[in-house]
């Protein structure tokens, strides 16, 4: 193949970066292998499980079915961007722990990035709406209810409203 490696400049978690990248690479490959963003998991690698989910220009994408070369000029956020300066967890990460929404943890980074997209809209969603928005992720362990509760709890906290009790 001619020009197999191509120069890609983009913004990763707030920092401008550049790399010669193999044009056969998926965005998952690039983020994990070249930038050590190991929160980006390889689950199914065919776009079905959401383990590799990252935020590109404000919207969630499964990075396993996104070509690395398409990252050119984009703003990409991974779970690593949520940590505070001294490694503090963000509110949504803490909520996942508090609600036991993490078991093996393989699906967690993907779920949390979708949760970030939901939370950053600043809107209040019903349970059904939250379920729909979280539906692009598979979890083998938790049965989803704890995950839903963690997202919901954080949503109400950020909105400064009490979480409705009985569901």
């Amino acid at each position: 193949m001619k020009d197999q490696f191509r120069l890609i400049e983009f913004n990763l978690n707030g920092k401008d970066v550049a790399k010669m990248v193999d044009c056969r690479a998926s965005l998952t490959d690039m983020l994990r292998d070249d930038y050590r963003m190991t929160s980006v998991k390889k689950g199914c690698e065919v776009g079905e499980c959401g383990a590799c989910n990252v935020i590109i220009d404000g919207e969630c994408y499964n990075s396993c079915i996104y070509l690395a070369v398409w990252a050119k000029g984009k703003k990409i956020r991974t779970l690593e961007s949520l940590l505070g300066p001294n490694g503090e967890l963000s509110d949504i990460q803490q909520a996942f722990i508090d609600e036991t929404a993490v078991q093996c943890g393989f699906c967690t980074p993907g779920f949390i990035m979708t949760a970030i997209e939901i939370l950053e809209t600043g809107k209040e969603y019903s349970d059904d709406e939250l379920r729909k928005q979280l539906s692009g992720h598979l979890c083998r362990c938790t049965g989803y209810e704890n995950i839903l509760r963690a997202v919901k709890k954080t949503m109400y906290k950020r909105l400064g409203k009490p979480m409705p009790t009985a569901t």
Partner: protein
């Protein structure tokens, strides 16, 4: 790593056409949610790809000079669903594509890719057929527009010439004006599933909302290509807005469609579901037009 032989990145529509002519074996890749998956499965492994994904000029929705809705081929499903023009004129299309896959898939998946696959289970297909969409193809010699029913040639086959790429989908004003529609997707799961059968209906009622002025219905997965149901349309067109008309409309569908047996569902089951879906879609469309079934 994907097993890609060569990746050509188009920088403009003209560039894409040049690449098409230079590399006749190459497959066009838009969002890639089908092409890359097939590559991973081995079906398209070792192939050359022409990427058009970064051509932003092919994104967005607008009204053209004649007030036809013009949808850029690379508009993602999620952007379509949110777009004010879609919500205003053809809300049912936005709702239909909101049922594709899951949220991340709706961000990467494009309406053009969905139609170019020629897959009959595509959630957009039935609604685009019911609205008599025109497919705009741009090639070396210029632009041509093909009615969507002629664009789908057979299962997985569409009418794109070797120098062409699909650049837009148009919904004629005469088609969407004063209509309300409803899409029903019958699938085994609520998310991340492919439709067993999809049905899209749209109606135009008389000003007093007593008569069906025009009724259109199309199915995905009812045959090898998405299809209209002309018998059913005739059974309801010009008839009073009533429960009997809705009933007759549903039953007439059986004369029009030819579903197949597959592991997803049997022919008899699909037929049964199609009748009921058509009836329900008609009822919902009437409600959305502010009408009432007597």
């Amino acid at each position: 790593m994907y097993d890609i032989k060569e990746l050509y990145e188009a920088e403009s529509v003209r560039d894409a056409i040049r690449l098409r002519l230079e590399h006749p074996e190459a497959q066009i890749i838009a969002g890639g949610s089908d092409v890359l998956v097939q590559m991973r499965e081995g079906k398209r492994a070792g192939k050359e790809l022409i990427s058009i994904y970064t051509l932003d000029e092919l994104r967005g929705v607008c009204l053209d000079m004649e007030d036809n809705l013009r949808i850029g081929s690379l508009t993602s499903f999620s952007h379509l669903t949110k777009h004010p023009l879609i919500r205003q004129h053809i809300n049912v299309l936005g709702e239909a594509v909101d049922m594709v896959g899951g949220p991340q898939i709706r961000n990467i998946g494009t309406i053009g890719g969905n139609t170019c696959n020629g897959v009959t289970s595509a959630d957009s297909a039935s609604t685009l057929h019911a609205y008599e969409a025109l497919i705009e193809l741009t090639g070396a010699e210029g632009v041509r527009r093909v009615p969507i029913k002629d664009f789908y040639l057979g299962a997985g086959k569409v009418d794109i010439r070797p120098d062409e790429i699909q650049t837009a989908i148009l919904i004629p004003k005469a088609s969407y004006e004063n209509t309300c529609g409803y899409y029903y997707k019958y699938a085994m799961r609520n998310a991340m599933d492919i439709a067993t059968t999809g049905c899209s209906v749209n109606v135009r009622l008389s000003p007093d909302k007593q008569t069906f002025e025009r009724v259109r219905v199309a199915f995905g997965v009812a045959g090898p290509v998405p299809m209209r149901a002309p018998g059913a349309e005739a059974a309801a067109g010009g008839q009073p807005v009533s429960a009997e008309t809705a009933e007759a409309f549903g039953l007439a569908v059986v004369g029009d469609i030819n579903p197949r047996d597959s592991w997803r569902a049997s022919k008899a089951f699909r037929q049964h579901v199609a009748v009921e879906m058509a009836r329900r879609c008609l009822v919902e469309s009437v409600k959305r037009c502010g009408g009432e079934l007597k």
